[in-house]
């Protein structure tokens, strides 16, 4: 007995051609990748400004080795208070070398290397907390003349700007998704219209709604997956270039920011792209496929409702 190729009359390769939908989904995915990359970059900058170098509070203690109001030296007393304060993540006293490196431009201008320098403590606070103002009276008590400097006003403003950029990126992604859903719906409806006689026939022969919707959804889901893959691949070079340009701004330390890049190392390229961005690029094709599948299922089932 001859075994014949399976045919159910829907001829979806004619109803849903394989060029138009993948191309549009690829374009949507490309735009979504750019918008998401913008959001992720804004998030990274926000992290740096609120948790990284921009969120450092410096405590200057003049005459650090003088006796404190209670017992021990002034610097030891200040360090003790700061280190044990709630909301302080780390407190690091800069070494003489670090301090002189920091002040090198001014020291070179004065030409006086023996200038008495205050001790400086670099304080990293827990994100979202500002423990220093309540500590000031206690620090003043043990080390009069202590100076606390924090650029929280600027970092807060920059963080707010970053949050706005993230919201814009999210909005852009939602718009792109909405357009992609509309495109999938339009393509599906066109396909249903093209094959309406075949659909009506197999419906009258007892085909379940789930069968017809499943056949269409599989086709659209696959085409959307291919389109999503194309969009992700197309976006990758641009995102790599943008990540490379943005690397100095998102580095957590100055050393990272100015470090030269090894152009021939894939590892170096992978390092400059935020991991969240890589995951997002990997997730885009299946997300496009699933979105296409769900949209088509709903569209076909709604269309089939017109049949008894």
């Amino acid at each position: 007995m001859v075994r014949r190729r399976y045919h159910d009359g829907l001829a979806l390769h004619q109803a849903l051609p394989g060029q138009f939908l993948p191309f549009l989904v690829a374009a949507m995915s490309f735009l979504a990748a750019l918008a998401l990359a913008g959001g992720i970059a804004a998030h990274g900058l926000s992290q740096r400004w609120t948790h990284g170098a921009g969120a450092v509070t410096t405590v200057q203690v003049p005459g650090p080795d003088d006796p404190a109001a209670g017992s021990g030296t002034r610097i030891a007393a200040v360090q003790d208070i700061v280190a044990h304060a709630p909301g302080v993540a780390t407190a690091h006293r800069l070494s003489d070398a670090e301090l002189r490196a920091l002040l090198a431009p001014w020291i070179e201008q004065t030409g006086d290397a023996s200038l008495p320098l205050p001790a400086v403590i670099e304080v990293h606070t827990v994100p979202g907390q500002d423990p220093m103002p309540p500590l000031l009276p206690r620090l003043e008590a043990v080390a009069p003349g202590v100076l606390v400097e924090h650029d929280s006003v600027w970092s807060d403003r920059l963080a707010a700007l970053a949050a706005s950029l993230q919201a814009c990126a999210l909005l852009a992604v939602l718009i792109v998704m909405t357009v992609a859903v509309c495109v999938a719906m339009a393509a599906t409806r066109a396909g249903l219209q093209t094959r309406r006689q075949a659909i009506a026939l197999i419906h009258s022969l007892g085909a379940m709604d789930s069968y017809i919707a499943g056949r269409f959804a599989s086709r659209v889901g696959l085409l959307a997956l291919v389109g999503g893959l194309g969009g992700s691949i197309a976006a990758l070079p641009m995102l790599l270039a943008m990540s490379h340009l943005a690397a100095p701004f998102s580095a957590m330390t100055d050393a990272q920011a100015v470090a030269p890049m090894d152009w021939h190392s894939p590892r170096a390229w992978a390092d400059i792209v935020p991991h969240a961005l890589l995951w997002m690029l990997l997730a885009l094709p299946p997300a496009a496929g699933i979105t296409g599948w769900i949209t088509t299922q709903l569209t076909v089932r709604a269309w089939l409702r017109r049949l008894p």
Binding site: R3, D8, G9, A207
Partner: protein
């Protein structure tokens, strides 16, 4: 097998539509063969459309193979359609499928094994005398051949209810005779059969109980 009680049907909705059937009540038992008679426009095709679940009655009660159609869920209606075979007047063959694939379609929708499908299709196509045209497309066939393919598709899954709208129109006398013999054989095996026709000659040649319609009304239901 099927019961209609006070069934009405109007094209384009109940209020503004054109009445095609008015207050039809029928009760047809399992294994019965019935002619459905009446002139053009009498409502024969509308009645067959209601029985084949192609349209819903505008009013009344329809029960087919024990299923109350008006209250049934969509999935139950789909299952019910698999037990009803229909030969449409316009054949409704899919032009981009081969004859084999057209006839195999109902079995494929029931997820039968391909070997079984091939066996069944070859058997039925041999019976209708088209075993050599399996790879042809419907548009490559004559009207009579297309009608035989449509008949083969309707009976291949041995439906419990078989509906046929003018099934002998495009057949010669010999083919029509073979078809009627098959219908009677199917009825003996328990299939309920309703055949719509306005061909008086064939009704006289193969006498059987008849349902007669005129202007959408049931004129006679005699056995």
């Amino acid at each position: 097998m099927f019961r209609l009680h006070d069934v009405s049907y109007a094209y384009g909705g109940n209020r503004a539509g054109v009445a095609a059937l008015s207050h039809i009540s029928l009760d047809v038992a399992q294994g019965e063969f019935r002619w459905l008679l009446g002139p053009s426009g009498a409502g024969k095709s509308s009645l067959l459309s209601i029985l084949s679940l192609e349209v819903q009655a505008s009013a009344g009660m329809v029960e087919i193979l024990g299923v109350p159609v008006m209250q049934a869920r969509r999935s139950n209606l789909a299952r019910l359609r698999r037990r009803i075979g229909t030969v449409w007047q316009d054949f409704r063959l899919l032009p981009d499928l081969s004859v084999f694939d057209n006839v195999a379609l109902p079995l494929r929708l029931q997820h039968r094994a391909e070997d079984e499908i091939a066996h069944e299709v070859h058997a039925i196509m041999k019976w209708v005398g088209l075993e050599n045209r399996l790879d042809a497309r419907p548009l490559q066939l004559s009207g009579g051949e297309q009608q035989r393919v449509a008949i083969a598709r309707a009976v291949i899954y041995r439906p419990a209810l078989l509906l046929a709208d003018e099934p002998t129109n495009a057949l010669d006398e010999r083919q029509a005779g073979r078809l009627m013999a098959m219908f009677h054989r199917l009825a003996e095996l328990g299939t309920t059969i309703v055949v719509a026709t306005h061909n008086d000659a064939i009704v006289e040649k193969y006498p059987a109980p008849a349902i007669e319609l005129a202007h959408g009304h049931l004129v006679r239901d005699y056995r």
